[in-house]
Symmetry: C3
Subunit: 438 residues, 3 copies
């Protein structure tokens, strides 16, 4: 089954791969349209010129065609072959240029002569072509005709959300970017894994309310935050999650706070997996987590990737293609995210109703009756939950302190709840949220 879901997500990447996305434009709309066939999406259009904190929503960019021809009329580079061939947000051009001038608009990766780089110029008018370094050899007889039929016009920035309502208004946020053209790991892997996670959560009755956002990077998260400041106090935990299809180990980048619930939960889940994983402290460079971690926002949103941005050779090049991501990695990433959700949902905080000495578990049928030998793991878990349920410790704290697994501790707490030996109480770290709910 996990192979099936991996294949299903991979097929969707294959379908979305050719589309030329950018931070605005029809490529984003097409992509969201297709994701909307998996989970119901609310699509938002934010007009060009809208002020979003220190930024302004830019003009909308679209592109029809682009190519370079040599003096013989042979096409040397054609946008139809690969959406990376044109620098994103290139202004329109139709000109005949000599090599000396043209070459200032060509971007290559000499260290990887077969790969096309990914380049953008969102906030400064410019145009450019990206190509494999070894294709420079084709540029012989100039002058060259250069055509980019693009448009930069007032329009809008597009993002989409889906919300799975839970028993409480406290929210768990999953955020990912949707602005990269034909690049598979960055960002299609995140786009499809989060879509599948949202679909699955929609089939259940979660405790928390789950919000998923697909938006362009940087300007998209800034736009979303500027329109959702009222939502921030309700965020119990959040993840920016992308780069989920490669073979690399998981990397979790902590929230600005460093000790938020999401930090504790992801660190715990990665540690219980039979996988290598690395923990990174917050830093102000990376993906959209840096907006959530800006000093005036400071939301409890971490970032989960496999190999991080910039840490693999294929990053931001045409080598981040359909061969670079695999169905089994997508399925494994989905599994880790589902386990994170499971632990977030299960991690309660309790008060022992019989806190003076141990309650007598035996008379409630919760403890073996023949003494003298060692208690079982379940009995150990009950003793730990009773001992630490003083309103100051969560079940995850109890796991960490006792060395016991989450499931046995969660089951023990359920038994004790059923026996009236525990009351649920608010996690002291989320006192402010408790008030919101009343």
């Amino acid at each position: 089954m996990s192979e099936d879901v991996g294949k299903k997500m991979y097929d969707l990447i294959e379908e979305l791969y050719p589309i030329c996305r950018s931070i605005t434009g029809d490529g984003v709309r097409q992509t969201l349209d297709r994701i909307g066939s998996i989970v119901p999406l609310e699509v938002h259009e934010v007009p060009t010129g809208t002020q979003v904190f220190d930024w302004t929503v830019p003009r909308e960019w679209n592109i029809e065609e682009a190519f370079i021809e040599d003096a013989n009329g042979d096409r040397l580079i054609d946008f139809r072959d690969h959406s990376l061939h044109v620098m994103s947000y290139s202004t329109p051009v139709d000109a005949v240029l000599e090599w000396d001038e043209l070459c200032q608009h060509l971007h290559t990766l000499p260290e990887h002569p077969d790969w096309i780089p990914y380049r953008t110029s969102y906030y400064e008018d410019n145009w450019g072509f990206c190509l494999a370094h070894h294709d420079l050899g084709r540029f012989k007889a100039g002058p060259f005709r250069v055509v980019i039929r693009s448009s930069l016009k007032d329009g809008s920035l597009t993002y989409a959300e889906t919300v799975v309502s839970g028993a409480t208004a406290r929210e768990v946020l999953f955020f990912n970017h949707v602005c990269h053209p034909s690049l598979c790991n960055d960002n299609l892997s995140g786009n499809v894994v989060l879509a599948e996670l949202a679909r699955r959560l929609g089939e259940g009755q979660p405790k928390f309310t789950y919000r998923f956002v697909w938006a362009p990077g940087t300007i998209g998260s800034i736009t979303w935050l500027s329109r959702n400041e009222a939502t921030l106090p309700r965020i119990h935990a959040g993840l920016v999650s992308v780069l989920l299809g490669d073979a690399g180990p998981f990397h979790y980048k902590r929230t600005r706070r460093g000790t938020a619930e999401i930090d504790r939960v992801v660190e715990f889940v990665l540690e219980e997996q039979p996988l290598d994983a690395e923990l990174l402290d917050f830093s102000p460079y990376g993906y959209d987590e840096r907006q959530f971690g800006s000093p005036g926002i400071d939301a409890p949103v971490g970032r989960l990737t496999r190999t991080p941005n910039g840490a693999y050779e294929e990053y931001h090049s045409s080598a981040d293609n359909l061969d670079f991501v695999r169905p089994e990695h997508l399925a494994q990433s989905l599994g880790v995210l589902e386990r994170i959700v499971e632990v977030l949902e299960g991690n309660g905080c309790y008060r022992n109703t019989q806190p003076k000495c141990e309650p007598q578990l035996g008379k409630r049928g919760l403890y073996g009756s023949t003494g003298g030998s060692q208690p079982k793991q379940r009995e150990h878990a009950m003793l730990w939950v009773l001992s630490m349920s003083d309103t100051k410790h969560s079940l995850l704290d109890i796991c960490t302190k006792s060395g016991l697994g989450f499931d046995v501790v969660r089951d023990a707490a359920n038994d004790l709840l059923a026996a009236g030996l525990l009351n649920e109480c608010a996690d002291p770290r989320h006192g402010e949220l408790k008030e919101l709910e009343t």
Copy 2:
């Protein structure tokens, strides 16, 4: 002399060894009677049916005889041979049984075929025999006659205390259990070492008041705590101390708080000994320290043993016998407890009366007069005590920070007190106790 005291304690163990103790009954009374010949004991009887927190004092159990005979009338197992042969709290039985039924009531240790296990069934009516696994071979021609002449009647739970009054009402508590039948390390070693410690303290003029309690495990500490809640705020430090006669290294299990005065003192004393020792964090499984560390009690009571419960093969079997404990280990354990008392008594907290710059020690005859060479350890200790006596640090803090030994620091403080350069003040960690004393 230390050999003498070891021999004296060992002889007492030998005397108490055959008695069949349990959580109630005459075996406990005989044991306390004998300990009462060493230190004056106040014996408490708590009636069956008394509610003690979540528990109820059970019926009192006594036993006259018990045996199993084969079809020929040959005795296969006889309680007179070893008090472990009968499962503690066995209900009375007089029946003739076939092997299939009998064997469900027999307990052995296949991995140690020569040893008799120790089993109890305090809170569920049941009966059983415990025997060496290799003695199963004697069970040939059935049916078998099974007799246990025991009684389970309304009576009382018995525990005893001795109190050595000190200059202050703040108390140091030593607690140990007295419910195990013929087992030497667990618990006779603790019973006799604490009796000797109490006797010795009674000969002096201690600063603190010392309370020693001998009580059955679990139900005994729960009963004591339910009747002594008013005593708890006066407890300055406490130790559950048992398993003191084997050759293993000392193990100190911290209080629930983890940083109480007793934690600091025992860790310091074990570190200054020329012995290996291990420090364990609090956990809710073990001996009576888990009742003192329950969330609604949270008393500063740690646990000192040599090899901990369950960590040696002979634990809870007939191999925990007179060969397993040695006079020299008992004497060494007593020595460590006496050093703990010495450091607890000596660990004051002071205020430097001349805190601006160093006071001139030379004019008070406290410092060598020829300068230029290095000061001596005693002079170093005076400088450290003056430097850190800002009401926030105890002498033990000063030892830890300076690396100096307790005795030189204690002597330096005494000299400075005599010179008027220090005032005694309450340890900030025990502010609440200060008020109690006024």
Copy 3:
């Protein structure tokens, strides 16, 4: 140039070396007079008998000549050869003594038979001669004539200050002792390096006010503190700095608080140097830092030396001479002190004026416009400064967290200040100082 300044400081040591300094007297005055030719000094005279905290300013000591002659009238020891030959504060004597009596007044170092030890007896009337152990061989035919023409009279204790006024009244204090006779590293090296540092600071426009004090050890710092209690709340950072001319690694001894601004700055500067360095916790033995770190003073004053007092063989002996200190070590020590000043001056604390999400650096010309590739170190530094400028972190905190160097972070902050993206604010650790300034 650094060689020139090293030579200049070394030459001054050479000039001051022969003078017989003590905790009072004309030797100190001559020394301060010469230092006063480099920086303007305010010289203070505190009369004998003045009460300074627990101490009293002693009588003033001066010495004209001293010698020992044998029965033949041959001079065996002559103070004119070396100022260390007479124990400091020796009372006057003119007597003829047999060897048995004389030898009780002779001090040697048997483990270094060529070296003269340094001895003092400030607070107990006594006299003595110090000499190379191998010179004891000269003492043949007694009796011996012993002459010390010294005086102990009411006079005064002398110390000197220079103040370089800065933009704020918050002070940085440099303190050093000036009481040692012919010893080069201890204390002439500190005397001349601090004089040069003060001279250089006087040529600039510093942010902080810098105060330099030259005073006798112990009684001098106690006297200064007793007369300058009102200055203490203004001290932003301070250093006792001596032992700056040997080849050993730098040793920084932390303030009593352990985490003061000066602790952070010196630790950072020593770490960025291509040198080994050691950090020591505060202890109440050493130089005058122990008075600043006494519990009633608790000023943020650390101590910077190369090899610490007592940790080199030549310490407090005639081997601490003109060969033991080198121009290049003096210059290097000056360089480290200047870097400490630079970081102290530059280490501001700021508030990001656009704290919600990242401000758009590109539109302000602060960020490269072509996206997709990695940002430069300067851009990283700007992101870190913006991220951590939440009024709770200084630039040094940002360096430590980001791993970036101080200069690139300081430059980034300056760019952001110029762009209006930062406001300066008080370091939260110095809140009390802010009020003083208004």
